[in-house]
Symmetry: C2
Subunit: 179 residues, 2 copies
Amino acid sequence: MEPTVIWYTGLPGSGKTTLAESLNSILTEQGHPTVILDGDNIRKGLSSDLGFSDADRAENIRRVAEVAKLMAEAKLTVIVAMISPFDAERQMAREIMRGITFIETHINAPLAVCESRDPKGMYKKARSGKLKKFTGVDSIYEPPVSPELRVDTVKLSVEESTNIIVAYLKRAAFGGELA
Amino acid sequence: MEPTVIWYTGLPGSGKTTLAESLNSILTEQGHPTVILDGDNIRKGLSSDLGFSDADRAENIRRVAEVAKLMAEAKLTVIVAMISPFDAERQMAREIMRGITFIETHINAPLAVCESRDPKGMYKKARSGKLKKFTGVDSIYEPPVSPELRVDTVKLSVEESTNIIVAYLKRAAFGGELA
């Protein structure tokens, strides 16, 4: 198996965390040591000193990319679930992980759908002005132009989305080691 | 096996990297997924934005502790090899990793011995003034008062030192899973 980082990018509420957990289950069941780096958790620990300015967002992405690299080199399959709204930063992450199989995966759903899901009530807070610089509301999201994968979580169920990702992983990194 | 972080602290040249590699070999041979977080490598990646002021040193330790925690939670046995000269920062690392087996290990050798080894020529640079804030020369090292382990790399060979650490690991974290 190649050292691999699967990088989920998408709007808040697009399904990144759900799909990270779903993929994690499948890989773990099959005996592949796996770790999820979730944006929200990272903000509570490694990046707890950072805010949401553009510079701080970039630094947050840089740190996660460096950690993902260390983990992939230690033979964990790394699933990153981060809004990572800017193309330049995702490009930086890819650069940092040169030599590692990097699978940028756009978890795609229209803003209106993400906002109606609002799993953590964050869109509501942002619309009411209680939360500033919230991606999709008053901070932009740049969809990746040519990611390795794009899954549409409106048309596809969690299971279908996960199957697409697993099928890609088999080809790109795992070969016969993944069923 | 308990999630475990073995934290090597000691002067430059005390033997941290050598003993990290030696322990890593033994754990890996026995099928235990292991990772080394080496201070010098971390400075090239995750902490490449930090200098050597007291505040930056503390931030460096904080980041490594957060990463070590994430890795231990992902079931890697983590070997940290960092000078980590200040007691307060090692205490902070311990706090961050509450709930994880934390084995502070003092890799101990007198300054004169470390300086005569000078494996990377850093003492020489520091003595000539080319390198500032170098631990042991113009920045202090606070030896841990009550670490879980202390190994004396003047009296003991690499093999003997490693055996002491492995014996401790068996009792503290691995039980019968380590021979």
